[in-house]
């Protein structure tokens, strides 16, 4: 009776845990997908590296400059001086031309007429007046409009000759992704993604904590019932199932997310601000299974080998060990004393690398984070006109938490197994690494 009750209550807990684990897995997959889409849309290829983008921005700046162009008094003076110089030069040249010794009668007459009627100095005196006329004429609203129109059309012409292929790619990409999220523009997309992500963020942590709560409840039950040897087998089998669920969600949920971006790149061009925001340099988010999958999918044999080894040591052996423990406790005496089962249950610890994986992931995260941080801080610049801000959003994800929980739980189970191991057996004094202080 007590047995059934125990199974029922633990079964409920187990269902809860599995449900949370499953949800956690789907949600974290969804998060990964959303973030991937986001990083694709905001990829640096479509931003700072896109000539099309630069063209748009620069032509906006130049257009603005052209349209709001008006000469200051100083510029007018300078231009007038220049025009005056030109005109004076022209006059000198003309006069010299006419004053050249002429041979024909007509030429001689012209020279005479010119010299008697035109005073060169007087002409030079007139020059400033004319140049002023030219400048005022050019600066009249109608002329200005006309000149601007010419400049603008020339600009357009130049723009047409400057392009790359990002525009097409970006359009196709954004169209597809916007359709996926049912948004129509970038702002909506950003908003929708931000909402999604914050909802998912809280949810994932809630589910993760709920899972841990279930496991903890199981352990508390164990503590309460530790005197009732009769129930221990059931309890142990159920705990193994708990561990399997933990392991399954631990390896399928995202563990590390790496996200490096240039938040803003700002600089001044002709007094106008040119800004690029949210440029994703690098994004990657993977679960343990995802890592193994990526390695196995490579064409190179060495990557496949590494993937297979990780698969063997981090997934297969832990599962086999759990099975071994289960068979040892549950099975008949003959089964329990089977050499293979005993080996799996007690001595395979050194081949089971889930705990090594925990340390390895932590090391990778810290190392990667450190390298990224120092690389990005090299990009951080604030030199007056040019200003860049970078951001490193790398983080450990709930999957890591779950995986750590699995490893700890597995250690506890090994410890318990050694205590409840059938008394008629020779006590297996296994030096399982798990209870050796490291």
């Amino acid at each position: 009776m007590a047995n059934i009750l125990l199974i029922a209550s633990l079964g409920i807990l187990l269902c809860g845990e599995s449900y949370f684990g499953y949800r956690l897995h789907t949600i974290s997959a969804e998060q990964e997908q959303i973030k991937e889409d986001y990083s694709v849309v905001n990829n640096i290829t479509f931003g700072i590296f896109s000539v099309d983008q630069w063209r748009e921005k620069i032509s906006a700046v130049v257009g603005q400059q052209v349209n709001s162009f008006s000469m200051t008094a100083k510029q007018k003076a300078a231009l007038q001086a220049q025009v005056t110089d030109q005109l004076n030069g022209l006059i000198n040249k003309t006069v010299a031309q006419i004053n050249k010794p002429q041979k024909s009668l007509g030429g001689k007459l012209k020279k005479l007429a010119f010299n008697s009627f035109v005073d060169e100095d007087e002409l030079h005196a007139l020059v400033p007046v004319f140049s002023k006329t030219i400048i005022t004429k050019i600066n009249s609203p109608a002329s200005k409009k006309r000149l601007k129109r010419i400049a603008n059309s020339k600009m357009d012409q130049l723009e047409d000759q400057t392009y790359d292929k990002t525009e097409i790619a970006k359009n196709a990409m954004t169209r597809q992704i916007f359709a996926k999220y049912q948004v129509s523009n970038a702002a909506d997309f950003d908003k929708s993604i931000r909402n999604h992500l914050s909802a998912i963020h809280t949810l994932t942590y809630n589910y993760a904590y709920a899972m841990l709560g279930c496991v903890l409840a199981g352990l508390v039950l164990w503590l309460i019932l530790r005197k009732k040897t009769r129930l221990q087998t059931t309890l142990f089998i159920m705990s193994l199932l708990f561990a399997i669920v933990l392991l399954a969600s631990g390896i399928t949920t995202t563990i590390i997310e790496v996200d490096a971006r240039i938040t803003t790149l700002n600089f001044k061009l002709l007094d106008e601000n040119i800004a690029f925001t949210n440029q994703v340099l690098f994004f990657q988010s993977k679960s343990i299974l995802g890592i193994i999958e990526t390695l196995m999918k490579q064409p190179k044999p060495d990557s496949i080998l590494v993937g297979a080894l990780l698969m063997l040591f981090v997934i297969m052996l832990p599962v086999l060990r759990l099975l071994g423990k289960g068979l040892h406790v549950w099975g008949s005496d003959r089964f329990a004393d089977n050499k293979v089962v005993r080996y799996l249950a007690f001595e395979s610890g050194k081949w089971d690398m889930a705990d090594v994986m925990v340390v390895g992931v932590a090391m990778t995260y810290i190392g990667l984070n450190g390298i990224l941080k120092s690389q990005l801080s090299n990009l951080n610049m604030d030199t007056g006109p040019l200003k860049t801000v970078t951001e490193n959003n790398s983080s450990l994800q709930p999957g890591y938490l779950i995986f750590v929980a699995y490893v700890i739980f597995a250690m506890v189970l090994s410890y318990i197994l050694k205590r409840i191991a059938k008394p008629q057996e020779k006590n297996p004094q296994v030096l399982d690494e798990e209870n050796v202080p490291t």
């Binding site: 590296f49 002329s143 890592i291 060495d302 390895g360 690494e433 050796v436």
Partner: protein, 402 residues
């Protein structure tokens, strides 16, 4: 040895193909800018509407000038001379006629601007300005610096041009690659032979101790090679930079941003060289797992087998002899994860592919050529070999292994 040679060559290769010599090199841009100036200035054309507008503008200016002149002439003159001039001009010069000619003048002026000879002159001037800019101090100094390194490189490899150099790099890298893999498989073959010897002699207990000590020596060699040979090759490059600039096709291919081979010791050094405490910690941890632990492990296995009973049953020795092996796997895992995160980052490309967009013409940073190196395989085989040895030890030890 070969592996460090390979590293050298790769460093040179990346130097030569470095972005500073391509994308950021003035020399490379020189031809392109020349072509653009040529294209834009010499072939400077105005569309019909632009010409028309400009012509109207010039006309207006000319008319304004004539008006001004007329006004000046018609000003009441006081001197006799002035009065005569006014009279003469008014009789001989018909301002309306001149005004009527304004469009023709304007046309001539614009035609002058459009003139091919003038354009040639202008493009020459623009090019002159550009070369002048090229010769200015700072750019000049980087140019000479680049030239010096390139010259040095050419001399070192006995070649005359960059293309030749690249070819030489490629062939020698392929050679080295082949021979490193050859040696690598040779080593692995030795290990397999040793393990099969164990199988052959599994019944002859008297030989076990000798065999085991020999196996330990093999392990030491594996470890030493595994630690110092390059493990991972990180290669980040801009695959192509391809765009039209003012009507001129600008293409840069395979701009190397970063190209390095790292052995595990190099990784440790990089991490320890960081300023952040946590990175240093990780560096130290890797060092512990990859150097300290294995050495301790191998020595304690030896001690366990050869030493007296008391020493052999020491908890510490036993732990290292039997259980510590798997922690070296931590390094393997770290490199594997790094590999998947840094090296196999084809996210954008795969997305583009799914949309049937050719990504060859987009500016994408790729790290696709990042690869694992023989050192990694050797290190893994060391770890596995070590684990196997400790299992063997458990069977042959005269002492209690638990």
């Amino acid at each position: 040895m070969l592996s460090s040679n390979q590293e050298d060559i790769k460093k040179d290769y990346s130097n030569i193909n470095n972005i500073t010599y391509g994308l950021f090199s003035v020399g490379q841009w020189h031809d392109k800018v020349a072509a653009i100036i040529n294209h834009q200035v010499r072939n400077f054309t105005m569309t019909k509407s632009q010409k028309k507008e400009l012509q109207i503008e010039v006309e207006q200016v000319i008319i304004a000038l004539i008006n001004k002149a007329e006004a000046l002439v018609n000003k009441p003159k006081k001197t006799v001379d002035g009065k005569i001039k006014k009279f003469v001009i008014n009789t001989f010069v018909d301002t309306d006629k001149i005004k009527a000619q304004a469009p023709a003048f304007a046309k001539t002026i614009i035609a002058q601007v459009d003139n091919a000879a003038n354009k040639k002159k202008m493009s020459k001037m623009a090019m002159g300005k550009f070369t002048e800019m090229e010769r200015t101090g700072t750019i000049d100094s980087t140019l000479t610096a680049i030239e010096v390194t390139t010259k040095g490189m050419y001399k070192k490899y006995h070649v005359a041009s960059t293309a030749e150099l690249n070819q030489k790099f490629n062939t020698s890298l392929a050679d080295i690659r082949k021979s490193t893999y050859g040696y690598c498989f040779g080593m692995l073959g030795c290990i397999v032979v040793v393990l099969s010897l164990w199988w052959v002699f599994r019944k002859r207990t008297e030989l076990h101790t000798t065999l085991f000590v020999m196996s330990l020596l093999f392990a030491f060699i594996l470890l030493a090679v595994g630690l110092t040979a390059s493990m991972i090759e990180v290669d980040a490059r801009i695959k192509s930079l391809d765009f039209m600039l003012l009507g001129e096709h600008v293409v840069f291919k395979d701009q190397v941003l970063f190209f390095q081979s790292k052995s595990i010791m190099d990784v440790v050094l990089v991490l320890i060289g960081q300023s952040a405490v946590d990175s240093i910690l990780v560096g130290v941890l890797i060092l512990v797992f990859s150097v300290l632990f294995p050495i301790m492990k191998l020595s304690s296995t030896g001690i366990h087998l050869l030493g007296n009973r008391k020493l052999a049953e020491n908890r510490f020795i036993k732990y290292f002899a039997f259980q510590s092996g798997k922690w070296s796997m931590a390094d393997v895992i770290v490199i594997a994860i790094l590999m998947t995160y840094i090296g196999l980052n084809g996210l954008l490309e795969s997305q583009l592919k799914s949309l049937h967009i050719n990504s060859n013409f987009l500016t994408i940073i790729t790290t696709n050529n990042t690869a694992l190196q023989p050192g990694y395989i050797i290190f893994i085989s060391f770890v596995l070999y070590g684990l196997t040895l400790s299992t063997i030890l458990k069977f042959i030890t005269p002492h209690d292994s638990h």
